[in-house]
């Protein structure tokens, strides 16, 4: 049905490579789900845009063809492309928040599609809209249609997007990372929905993802891309279980398993950090409106021991980052104690806190925003030690040793952050945190923004540092696979509360709380044993 042959798309001159996509060929049959997998920069989204005819002028198709039901899309004019979109092919984007127009009701946005492409009367259109909204399993369709996008949750918005894409029953659905921005439980529902609808309507799906868990969950066939080239194409079971190409092998080996590591933790190691009844309440204060309290975290009791890792696992909005930021005192907790060694830092004034700051350091999620773009790497690493009176020469020496520890070249000291990749920057951030010689290192989703192969390396590095320096680590993540690999203790958070807390083996193998069970149920590709290859 969709036949992509030798597709080559050029990049603008002076780019890192000449082609975004080079001689890529694959096909999608009716009723088939083909997963395009690749890391960032592999060209998977560019292919999707090429198929939809959405490529900007700076990325011209320089060779090959894309034919949908026998018609070459690369040669179709703008008017013809408009006719084809939604009718024969349609697309679901990664971020449902920005893909929907915030000032139009969802129903109006669906209606727009029908008005453009059909000759139905308004009552017929309305009936059809309600039908499709029901079909994507949204509760109370009448209300959904009358809502603005901001009134819906992320999962509901994505369902509206899917409804919009499928309302005209296109032959091909392109889904570009449709679940990446969603929580894992929502992701599981959306994946199930796409599978059901696709089977019912016989739609061909080109599913783009970076997540092998999702691939295992949904794909019939898999195409692996690397730097714009197709390295492997085959049925799901063969590609996942007997990968041929080295790159595929490496990618699959990098996916952490859901099996906890089973390392024994010393229960008598000294407690580095303990929180008692920690709470953070945001107060919505305004002069005329009623006061509204938002409990970001409530009654959080945790303990981190020297040389051990406590993982805080939860979905977005569960309060896990709030806890981390309270512990670093980037925000002030509303109640409770934060004991660092023997001292309670929860209510200390900035002056009292200053000498204690070096004992807790944090590594953030986004490696692109964690380093000041106008400062060299060297300045970034020595900033902390200089603040605490370490002489410059000594601080620089320390920075050199740390760069070695995080496996970076010493030449990096004089360079600026934009010259490094995401993984390299995250290593620099780790070095910066370690330069303070902390007792507790907090990793706030520190590997979530990284590609899976880089993620595996950074995780290994963190693990090595923890054992070598005997650090206590607070590891915050939404990714159960990552948590299984690094944590000795796990706390599962939901809606600001810790719902389950215990040794990793206990929590992973014998979850007790219903929410924890649901979380594991939803983990994509849990039946596949990754990382064992």
């Amino acid at each position: 049905m969709l036949e992509v042959r030798d597709l080559t798309i050029a990049l603008p001159p002076n780019s890192e490579r000449a082609h975004a996509v080079q001689k890529v060929s694959f096909s999608v049959a009716r009723g088939e789900i083909l997963c395009l997998v690749g890391e960032s920069g592999s060209g998977k989204s560019v292919i999707a845009q090429g198929v939809m005819g959405l490529l900007p002028n700076t990325l011209p198709v320089t060779g090959g063809s894309v034919s949908l039901l026998g018609e070459d899309i690369t040669r179709a004019g703008l008017a013809r492309l408009r006719e084809l979109r939604c009718v024969r092919m349609s697309m679901v984007f990664q971020e449902p928040t920005t893909a929907l127009n915030p000032v139009m009701r969802c129903g109006e946005q669906l209606d727009e599609v029908l008005e453009e492409h059909t000759r139905l009367s308004p009552p017929e259109r309305r009936a059809k809209i309600l039908d499709i909204v029901r079909e994507v399993q949204l509760p109370d369709p009448e209300r959904m249609v009358a809502s603005y996008p901001h009134q819906l949750s992320g999962g509901q918005r994505q369902r509206i997007m899917i409804a919009m894409a499928l309302i005209l029953e296109p032959a091909l659905l392109i889904a570009d990372e449709p679940t990446t921005a969603l929580d894992v439980t929502t992701q599981a529902q959306i994946l199930r929905l796409i599978k059901e609808l696709q089977a019912r309507h016989g739609t061909g799906v080109l599913f783009i993802t970076h997540d092998f868990g999702v691939v295992a969950e949904i794909a019939h066939r898999v195409a692996v891309l690397r730097l714009g080239e197709l390295v492997e194409l085959g049925p799901k079971d063969r590609v996942l279980k007997q990968p041929q190409h080295d790159y595929t092998k490496m990618l699959i080996a990098s996916v952490p398993t859901l099996q906890p590591h089973g390392r024994a933790a010393d229960p008598s190691a000294p407690v580095v950090l303990a929180t008692k009844g920690l709470a953070k309440t945001y107060r919505d204060r305004s002069w005329f409106a009623k006061r509204r309290d938002v409990h970001a975290a409530q009654d959080v009791n945790l303990e981190v021991r020297r040389g051990q890792t406590l993982g805080i696992v939860g979905e977005s909005g569960s309060g896990k980052s709030t806890v981390a930021r309270c512990v670093v005192r980037l925000i002030d907790p509303s109640a409770g104690e934060i004991r660092l060694g023997g001292e309670d830092i929860a209510s200390m004034s900035p002056g009292e806190l200053r000498p204690l700051r070096q004992r807790v350091q944090i590594v953030f999620q986004d490696p692109y925003r964690s380093l000041n773009p106008r400062r060299t790497v060297g300045e970034a690493i020595i900033e902390g030690p200089l603040n605490y009176g370490v002489p410059r020469a000594e601080a620089l020496e320390r920075a050199r040793r740390l760069l070695e520890l995080v496996r970076m070249d010493q030449g990096a000291l004089a360079r600026y952050p934009h010259q490094f990749s995401g993984g390299q920057r995250q290593r620099i951030c780790i070095a910066r945190a370690l330069a303070m010689q902390p007792e507790l290192l907090i990793a706030d989703e520190a590997v979530s923004a990284l590609d899976v192969s880089v993620q595996a390396q950074v995780l290994a590095l963190l693990e090595e540092i923890r054992t070598r320096l005997n650090l206590a680590m607070l590891f915050i993540t939404h990714d159960l696979r990552v948590a299984a690999q690094v944590c000795d203790q796990v706390a599962v958070m939901s809606q600001g509360r810790v719902v389950e807390y215990g040794p990793a083996d206990e929590v992973f193998l014998r979850p007790k709380h219903a929410y924890t069970k649901a979380l594991f149920e939803a983990a994509p590709g849990r039946d596949f044993a990754f990382g064992a290859a």
């Binding site: 080295d246 790159y247 092998k249 490496m250 080996a253 990098s254 952490p256 590591h261 930021r325 670093v328 980037l330 200053r354 700051r357 070096q358 807790v360 350091q361 944090i362 953030f364 999620q365 986004d366 925003r369 964690s370 380093l371 000041n372 773009p373 106008r374 400062r375 900033e383 902390g384 603040n387 605490y388 030449g411 990096a412 360079r415 600026y416 934009h418 010259q419 490094f420 990749s421 993984g423 390299q424 951030c429 910066r432 945190a433 303070m436 192969s453 880089v454 595996a456 390396q457 995780l459 290994a460 693990e463 690999q485 690094v486 990382g531």
Partner: protein, 312 residues
């Protein structure tokens, strides 16, 4: 945890070992066409201002009753302060007192450029301090911003006129008077930048590294505000040159004996129908200067603002 064979990673060069080449901001800015042309134009104007005494000019305050209202290109006589009379060609004609318009316009370049640059620097300096304080210290925000709102509610020219009237016209007074109404705009810009940059993880990292607040403000936040501020500075510069000319033209700026483009035009206003050159030549200089500064600002914005760069 168990990790895949490191050799596999190396073979596949996952982490690109090669470091990306560095292109400095200066190199990027220099490549921009409008920055180059406007820069050359401004360089010429600066050179003219510096070399004013050697460009065939006479003392711009000299006048000669015999050489009043001459058309451009005419020759006449002019009396120096020593009482000596010399021959002089009036390339841009003379005004109703017999002063050489060419000399006055060329010397006026000095005043205009000084006013433009100093006003921009003064407004930026005060605006940056207020903006940083307002954006970072939440308790100060409300007070400072309401004061700025009040300042913005008064027309800029009116404030300038009032201030000059209060302090008598001198170069320093005029510069301060023009810069003050610009401060609220800079403050607002800096405040909005600070509000977004203070949430950046690198600022939070600096807080957890124990960096003192003033170092965070001037070492982390301010350098990342600079690009839009440079652009804003050029616009203030252009606007100040115009306002200075307007004030002089209205007779509330610098004293009429100091040669500025506005003063020359004010002088020529009465006889505009008969002797338009008195207004034409300083007007052309004013227009070219303001245009050059504005084009420079546009060019800088294109290269310094990442959002604009993406569109290119």
């Amino acid at each position: 945890m168990e990790t895949p064979d490191p050799k596999l990673y190396e073979a596949l060069s996952i982490e690109a070992a090669a470091v990306r080449p560095q292109e400095s901001i200066w190199q990027r800015v220099r490549r921009n066409g409008s920055v180059r042309y406007a820069g050359v134009m401004l360089a010429v104007l600066v050179a003219v201002a510096l070399a004013a005494p050697w460009l065939g000019t006479v003392d711009p305050t000299l006048f000669d009753a015999g050489s009043r209202d001459l058309y451009p290109g005419r020759s006449g006589e002019i009396t120096t302060l020593d009482g000596e009379t010399i021959k002089h060609t009036f390339w841009m004609g003379s005004d109703s007192l017999g002063r050489d318009v060419y000399s006055r316009v060329i010397y006026g370049t000095r005043v205009s450029l000084i006013v433009g640059v100093l006003c921009a620097l003064l407004a930026l300096a005060l605006g940056i301090v207020c903006g940083l304080a307002s954006g970072y210290l939440r308790w100060l925000d409300g007070i400072l911003m309401r004061f700025m709102d009040g300042l913005m509610a008064i027309p800029a020219i009116l404030i300038a006129i009032a201030l000059v009237a209060m302090w008598r016209g001198s170069l320093a007074t005029v510069i301060v008077a023009i810069a003050i109404p610009e401060i609220p705009r800079v403050t607002r810009l800096v405040r909005s930048l600070v509000l977004s940059i203070r949430e950046e993880p690198y600022v939070e990292a600096a807080i957890s590294l124990g960096t003192p607040t003033w170092k965070i403000l001037f070492g982390h936040i301010l350098p990342n505000c600079m690009a839009p501020l440079v652009v804003q500075g050029t616009f203030i510069c252009a606007f100040s040159i115009l306002v200075e000319a307007i004030l002089s033209f209205l007779g509330v700026g610098l004293p009429p004996d100091i040669p500025t483009w506005g003063n020359v035009m004010a002088e020529g206003r009465q006889q505009f129908n008969d002797y338009p050159h008195n207004i034409f030549f300083p007007g052309v200089f004013l227009a070219v200067t303001v245009l050059a500064v504005n084009i420079l600002g546009d060019g800088l914005r294109d290269t310094l603002d990442p959002k604009m760069a993406k569109r290119l």
